[in-house]
């Protein structure tokens, strides 16, 4: 028997309104299991939507530019070879009613004022009767709330989720919508900071305009917000990892060719875990009103990963009791999927503290930006063999530069320095991780 299978957006974490960037199949295409049907993009990542069934695509319900969320019907696939069944299904009426856009009536205010005695023709024909709203597309709001919205100049159709029963839009929802728009408006103007002037660069030479990826745009918004809202301090230090490296190389030498090699980052993660357990205020967030500190009893660590689409921060979960090998395997797997754009939004949520490592590239120090609402971020640049004075003579030691940026509202300068000292102790003598 031919069976028609509906392919829907899977659980992608608590994310709604995911953009459809590309649709790769059309009705009539044969698709294999796990074949990519469409590319979706959230504010954190883009991802491929795999086919959960193989067969012939009957109907595709999305197009680029649509917004989808968990459960949205993407396509129907006929999971069989019977042609008769396929033909029959095509007769099934399309689920959707034809999309009609509400046509706004031409604003008559713009009609020229007729002069006395000389009748003028209206510039544009008005509909014969007033455009009445169509019941099926009406906002879920009572007449009084619709009136209230109109008085405030709010297009009630833009309020998507009412807080009333079954999503009914209440007066408070209209008020909150207005508040939100007002506050966003303020933020956009950069709390009074003058906007950057627009410059026509083509007067200086040839240019090409390329649209920023959604991840870059949203990361940019988030970074600006953090930059303006958080008083941040960055503290720099160096740690002697000569012994740690020797141990790491010895471990890797024991491994076979196919095993995941242990990277220095794993030891930094372990050291960070131990330091956070010692200083719980680093695993915390300020409440929105700034009155309370929310201390977290769980510990997830975000790792900033550079991908072709932009910077993403996958989160390693419940790291407290994970060993070096387990963390290594998990990190390798996650980073790999991040680079392929296959991370689910849920995998990038819930971080407690982040590591941003430029260790593979170079540098001596930088000032990472805290991934708020976290309160601290640890930056890592490349380790370098340096002459170190041991009291009697200069000895060559492998020194790793570390940069700790913290939210000064939560972390005091001394706490920051002590936290860094703890990390140094753990990395300098990894036996301490056992304590």
């Amino acid at each position: 028997m031919a069976s028609l299978i509906e392919i829907k957006v899977p659980d992608v974490g608590n994310v709604a309104d995911i953009d459809v960037v590309d649709v790769l199949v059309k009705p009539g295409d044969e698709v294999k299991l796990e074949q990519t049907l469409a590319v979706l993009e959230t504010d954190k990542a883009s991802m491929d939507l795999p086919a959960s069934a193989a067969g012939k695509v009957q109907e595709v319900f999305i197009k680029p530019g649509d917004k989808v969320s968990e459960g949205t019907l993407i396509a129907t696939v006929l999971a069989a070879t019977e042609e008769s069944g396929a033909a029959k299904q095509e007769e099934a009426p399309a689920q959707q009613a034809p999309v009609q856009q509400e046509v706004a009536t031409a604003p008559v205010e713009k009609a020229p004022e007729p002069t006395s005695q000389s009748p003028v023709a209206a510039p544009e024909p008005l509909p014969e009767t007033p455009a009445r709203s169509e019941p099926g597309k009406a906002a879920h709001a009572t007449p009084a709330v619709r009136l209230f919205a109109r008085e405030l100049g709010v297009d009630i159709h833009k309020i998507t989720n009412g807080s009333g029963r079954k999503g009914r839009i209440l007066k408070d929802d209209v008020k909150n919508f207005v508040k939100k728009v007002m506050t966003e408006g303020v933020a956009q103007s950069g709390t009074g900071i003058p906007a950057m002037p627009s410059v026509d660069f083509s007067q200086f030479g040839e240019v090409e305009e390329r649209k920023l990826s959604k991840i870059k745009r949203l990361t940019g918004q988030n970074l600006s917000r953090v930059w303006l809202n958080l008083p941040m301090v960055t503290y720099h230090d160096e740690v002697d990892i000569t012994e740690m490296e020797a141990f790491r190389n010895a471990l890797n030498a024991e491994k076979s060719k196919d095993d995941v090699k242990i990277t220095g980052l794993i030891f930094i993660i372990k050291a960070l875990i131990a330091a956070v357990e010692q200083f719980p205020q680093f695993n915390a967030s300020l409440s929105a009103d700034g009155e309370n500190l929310i201390l977290k009893k769980y510990l997830n660590i975000g790792i900033a990963v550079d991908t072709p689409n932009g910077l993403v921060v996958p989160v390693l979960r419940n790291v407290k009791h994970k060993g070096i090998n387990e963390l290594s395997a998990e990190l390798a797997e996650t980073s790999n999927r991040a680079r392929l754009g296959k991370l689910m939004p849920a995998e990038m949520q819930g971080g407690c503290i982040t590591i941003s490592s430029l260790g593979g590239i170079g540098g001596t120090a930088f000032t990472p930006i805290v991934n708020a609402p976290e309160v601290a971020i640890l930056g890592v640049t490349r380790a370098k063999m340096q002459p170190v004075w041991n009291g009697k003579e200069f000895v060559p030691r492998l020194m790793l530069p570390l940069d700790l940026t913290y939210d000064h509202r939560v972390i005091d300068g001394v706490e920051g320095a002590k936290f860094m000292a703890a990390i140094k102790q753990y990395l300098g003598d990894i036996r301490r991780l056992l304590l």
Partner: protein, 477 residues
């Protein structure tokens, strides 16, 4: 209307001028006055209230009540109630009908005075985009205005080739005058007005024939809602000719000789009177709108936006003249919107539906989406139709033909449309309209406790049929 001021040589000024004193016009005038505007109301007839109050909704309801009493008494003869054959004192009935309208007209005149509105009786025409000239009995009066609200209504459509000067050829106003009871009455047009008049004259003893161009009576209404009415009047009336039109009406010494053409067209028939009820035409071409720069279409409608503004921003239009449906309750709501916008408020007409009621026997009513529209527009819906044969209240009225229908959105159960047919069905539709405006779904209606045994219960029962929780019927899964 004794308030007519003596003709003022100089121009009278109005902050808001309202042209037409029907249910739309007087509502607009009252609302504008209440919002602090100085208002001049121009009405061509001596009494306010327009067609609705004087020669429409109200007098027809008075006469329909008479018809209902006659029918009920007549029908209960078989159940053991015998008053004998009723006799009519037509003069007394007419006087009663007039007392009803007079009470309301007097009430309106008082409301005008209380609000200090200047009322001018006469026919107004625009002479510019800020001036109206009113022709009164005493002469011409110019009224200048800052803003104007056109509420000049509509008139019964006449068919030019008919002998319109013959007193036996009626329009709805003639029929409501109740001058005589013709033996044989032909009603041209099987719409709401024609059928309401048919109900009255049938009860008073006329032999009724109805001729309708379309394939059903009350065109536009879903067929299942019309069918119970059709079955009943088919038995009561002499003829109902569908898909048939009148080709000619000739004066004859015994009456009006009418010839037909169409599917069930009879030979020509002589009637004692013919009521032409083929619709109404807006009065847009009769008010000098072109001199104000206001656009009027071919038919006579004036196009408006959601705020009731015409193409001239300070001139509004409401009611029949601003578009279909031509109903008093649409006009009065539009009148409020226009007055509020004129007073600087951000009002707009955004009602989701305008309910329709035919005060026939049984009454037919509907609102929101009809099944016909849903099918045309390809909208999927769930439907439930509760038969009044299962309503104790209906049966105890001696009636079982009614039904209550609900159309719901397939996924959410949200009410999209509803309709009822049955005695007093018109009183039930308001709940459905409220449900639609509130965004209620079938579950909401079903969970709302409706009193028993009432006809209003049928709406809840129909909703329960949608949700599958009905117990007053057995529906096989």
């Amino acid at each position: 209307m004794d308030a007519n001021p003596a003709i003022n040589e100089s121009v009278i000024h109005a902050e808001v001028l309202v042209l037409g004193g029907g249910p739309g016009g007087y509502t607009a005038a009252f609302r504008a006055a209440d919002l602090g505007k100085q208002v001049v109301l121009v009405e061509r007839y001596p009494s306010l209230g327009g067609v609705c109050l004087n020669v429409g909704c109200i007098p027809s309801k008075a006469l329909l009540h008479v018809a209902q009493i006659i029918h009920e008494v007549d029908e209960f003869e078989q159940h053991g109630l015998n008053y004998g054959k009723p006799t009519f004192d037509l003069d007394k009935i007419r006087a009663w009908k007039e007392s009803v309208t007079n009470t309301l007209v007097d009430g309106l005149a008082r409301l005008v005075k209380q609000r200090k509105i200047t009322l001018i009786q006469g026919t107004g025409r625009f002479t510019s985009d800020h001036m109206v000239e009113v022709t009164t009995e005493a002469g011409k009066q110019n009224v200048s205005f800052d803003q104007a609200i056109i509420a000049a209504g509509s008139h019964a459509t006449q068919i030019p080739v008919f002998p319109n000067d013959d007193p036996r050829l009626w329009d709805s106003t003639d029929a409501l005058a109740l001058k005589e009871i013709p033996k044989k009455l032909l009603i041209v047009g099987g719409g709401i007005i024609g059928l309401e008049m048919a109900t009255v004259y049938h009860a008073l003893g006329s032999e009724i024939s109805v001729v309708e161009l379309m394939d059903q009576i009350i065109p536009g209404c879903d067929n299942d809602l019309v069918t119970p009415l059709f079955r009943r009047i088919k038995k009561q009336y002499k003829n109902i000719w569908l898909e048939t039109k009148v080709t000619s009406i000739e004066k004859d010494k015994d009456g009006l000789k009418v010839s037909f053409e169409g599917k069930s067209a009879p030979e020509s028939v002589v009637f004692d009177a013919v009521l032409v009820a083929v619709g109404r035409k807006p009065n847009g071409k009769l008010i000098g709108a072109e001199l104000a720069g206001v656009n009027v279409d071919e038919i006579g409608f004036i196009a408006v936006d959601k705020q009731q503004r015409t193409n001239v921003p300070h001139i509004f239009a409401i009611g029949d003249i601003a578009g279909n449906p031509m109903l008093a309750h649409k006009a009065s709501h539009e009148g409020k919107v226009a007055a509020e916008v004129a007073a600087g408020h951000k009002s707009a007409f955004d009602a989701l539906t305008i309910p329709a009621v035919a005060y026939t026997d049984p009454e037919v009513t509907w609102m929101g989406l009809t099944e016909n529209q849903a099918k045309q527009q390809g909208i999927e819906y769930d439907k439930a139709s509760f038969p009044w044969a299962a309503s104790g209240r209906s049966l105890s009225l001696g009636r079982k033909e009614g039904l209550t229908k609900i159309l719901c959105e397939k996924e959410t159960g949200r009410i999209l449309g509803a309709g009822m047919v049955g005695p007093n069905a018109g009183e039930l539709i308001a709940e459905a309209v409220l449900a639609l405006e509130m965004g209620a779904d079938a579950e909401d209606i079903g969970l709302t406790v409706h009193p028993h045994p009432m006809l209003s219960e049928t709406f809840a029962f129909a909703a329960e049929m949608i949700t599958g929780s009905i117990t007053d019927l057995y529906i096989k899964k």
